[in-house]
Amino acid sequence: MYETIGLWVAAFFTLAIYSFLYKENPIYRLAEHLVVGISAGYGIAITWEITLEPRLIQPLLAGDNWVLLIPALLGLLYITRFIPSIAWLSRYPIAFLMGTGMGIGFPLTMKASVLRQLEAAMAPVYASGMPWFEVLGNLVLIFGTLAALIYFFFSKPHKGLFFGTGSKIGIWVIMLGFGATFGFTVMGRISLLIGRVQFLLGDWLHLIE
């Protein structure tokens, strides 16, 4: 019974969202508002369950970690945003998270987005027994990365042999990459659509296996 009602409700809301393809309508709007309310409500429940209760309330009730009152009071300052005369106090928790987050993020970004990428770009172009298309691919990888970087370098005009030719090759590489990424994204979305159609025709209506 529970599963059957759930199936019908899920099918109703699936169709409610697809009804937007025709035009915006009250059923779609209801589904849209419900998803906002449910996801925010779910977020509150999960935040309480996995963060506030075990990390703050329980240690405070146990009386062994009073220092946790500092982040709790700092967090409560967020609410001052609703009181215009003291709204500036909400900058304190934002500053704490912003500053520490930026500080922690700096070396990690340097490592993941810069050093690791440079390291991976310095792969050997040729090794014995390597097929020709891999050698060609490695050349495209190295010179393509450089050319695309030149294209994104706007401090110099894109003229001359290095910047002019480099940026022209760069835009070709970027277009190849964008095309591939677009194709990949289309495939991902289509497979999601197939999943929903399978739900409607299979799980709900039992028209397909």
Binding site: G6, F13, R55, A87, R91, G103, F106, G179
Partner: protein
């Protein structure tokens, strides 16, 4: 107090956390451990701000009988109903279909299907975007078109009728030129993030202070 202290907190916090990464010492580890204990707590309270703001917007809409105001109940009822249900049935948060509950029902049969259908809806929009973008009007647009078509055909069963070369070419495009473009973009984004981090830490970028009074 209103601007200087928050800017100081950002600078001291940022420099401290940046330095501690490079110091393999127990005190440095204590600083990091305390941060990982405190940050989620402070961050969790930000949810109060979001919930408060959402409640304020929708309760005003109901009070003023603004256009489409009845839909605001569809936001407010689950917004407070879901945490209430989780509070009275805490096990429903983690229980699967073995322990059915209203909380679980709402999440699995409304939230999950709506979200996945919304994402699948993008298939229609992306198809219409593709129709506009993939016109071989210039050499570069043709490269974009060919690259997308080869990558798409290489991943579907119908692509097999063209022979293995199509799948190999699709894979080659993904592994080499696509990676080269992505790597260049990632490097650019990485440098951008680093520059923004430094600008915020040293107070050059202050937009985050918002408009909460001088």
């Amino acid at each position: 107090m209103k601007r200087t202290v928050p800017l100081m907190i950002v600078m001291v916090g940022g420099i401290l956390m940046m330095i501690q990464y490079f110091i393999p010492h127990q005190y440095s580890q204590v600083v990091f451990d305390n941060y990982t204990e405190w940050a989620p707590i402070v961050g969790a309270f930000a949810l109060l701000l979001g919930v408060g703001s959402l409640t304020r917007v929708h309760s005003h809409r109901i009070k003023r009988k603004a256009p489409n105001w009845p839909y605001s109940w569809a936001v407010l009822i689950p917004l407070f109903g879901m945490p209430f249900l989780a509070l009275i049935w805490p096990e429903s948060l983690w229980g699967g279909s073995d322990s059915p509950s209203v909380f679980h029902f709402l999440f699995m049969n409304i939230q999950v299907p709506i979200q996945s259908t919304m994402f699948s809806l993008l298939a229609f929009y992306i198809a219409s975007a593709a129709f506009r973008a993939f016109r071989a009007k210039s050499a570069l647009a043709t490269v974009l078109l060919l690259s997308a078509v080869i990558v798409m055909l290489a991943q579907v069963p119908i692509g097999e009728i063209f022979g293995p070369w199509l799948q190999n070419t699709g894979l080659w495009i993904l592994r080499y030129p696509n990676l080269a473009a992505k790597r260049a973009i990632m490097l650019g984004v990485g440098f951008g993030i680093l520059a923004t981090n430094l600008k915020i830490i040293f107070g050059v970028e202050r937009n985050w202070l918002g408009g909460a009074g001088e």
